[in-house]
Amino acid sequence: MVNTTLDVTWAIDWLRKSAAVVAEHRMALIELDRAIGDGDHGENLDRGFSAILEKLDAEAPATPGTAFKLAAMTLMSKVGGAAGPLYGTAYLRAATAVGDAVELDAATLVAALTAARDGVVARGKAEAGEKTMIDAWTPAVDAATAAADSGAAPAEVLAAAATAAEVGAVATEPLIARKGRASYLGERAIGHRDPGAESSALILRAAAQAAGVEA
């Protein structure tokens, strides 16, 4: 039976699975960032998500919104660099979007993902196609919206988002960067995947898995 809503258990599991996948891909993200940035993206996110795990061990958020807020504050204060404020803003906007809701339905989930993406855009002022995490988030939001519109359950919405984000991340490879550190490289960035787009795809896949979707 497919759940029609996701609750705080899912939200916490998402964060835990994100921490696991970020830890697992730490070196891979570092490698991506080494090629067109400064080689810290995997380290930064791993530091942030490890801190989230510690927080989650100490306090149990009551709603998805509180879980997102906890993630936002922790990432904001532990990650630094470009990714910290951007991911921090994403979770903060998601928290605002879901409010006090205890159960999130597909429409609320889409609203949360959209708010997260819009938050990143507002903070980072990047547009689609500038070789940033936006290039994972925007297709993810579009796919999630389409899935929800066609009546998909939350897990399917997240699966669609994750898959689109993965495709989006791969699609950053031929791009020239216009924002972030990779932008200084000009044409030398071509052929390399954007680390932030890759980590976004990993985190969205974790969301789907937490909702019960197989890898």
Partner: protein, 333 residues
Amino acid sequence: MKKLINDPRTVVDEAVAGFGQAHAAHVKVNADPLFVTRKDAPREGKVGLVSGGGSGHEPLHAGYVGYGMLDAAVPGAMFTSPTPDAIIPATIAANAGAGVVHIVKNYTGDVLNFETAAEMAEAEGVSVRTVLVNDDVAVEDSLYTAGRRGVAGTVLIEKIAGAAAERGDDLDAVAAIGNRVNNNVRSMGVALSACTVPHAGVPSFELADDEIEIGIGIHGEPGRHRIPMESADGITARLLGPVLNDLAPIAGDKVLLFVNGMGGTPASELYIVYRAAAKLLEDAGLVVERSLVGNYITALEMQGCSISVLLLDDEMTELWDAPVNTPALRWGM
């Protein structure tokens, strides 16, 4: 990777702790969140100067905390900008009621984190102005990028704005002189080797035995382009060319010439570059009025250097000469 460290995760904390002990006469270290203030901060009536950024550029920024320069510095993780939860208390600690100037190198991470911190400090009643440093001419076509990077010019801005704050200039005046220095300084760097960030454990890029990277930044990020190794005189000309092109000085202008080591280059080589650069400036009819040569803003153990030229006016020269008493820059007291 061979480094004098205990654990990649504790490098910054241990280094700043050691720094605080070694320079206890100058600074106080707040361990968590991590920031460094002048021992006597905040200084009654004085505008506070706060800077910060990723670690790995030592002595920047903590080395410039002290009389006539910074009131507080916020070291982030290696090559990673610090977070608002550290910048905010540092800003508050530096505020003596006259407001605080943030000196921020133009990188997305630094800009976003300082921006958030400034907003939140303002919410707590601290007036904040931001001087954005973007002196690196290596970034071509900065319209289509995140803008120019802030590199070695930062040191000059911190010194000169710091002297302005020390003489009692108000918040807007300190920010204005900081911006004036930024508008009049250009820099460009070269790497002969990459550096290794402790958490990565591998060099930030690969260079062949006879290759150098022109237009390098200070984070081990790749530069403008790669060329075969050449002479110090040749490299100096390659760095100084774009700097002068962009700065467009006219004959008779007075300049400060700053040859900065990236961390792993012997002083003798920096002086060879200085000599070549001074000659080129003189050939261009410029007057080298002030000089700075050494490892002042580094990229860990990277081999290479940057050359900065600052167009001086009388006020900047006076503020440059004003007494400064920090762990890494000191004169007049």
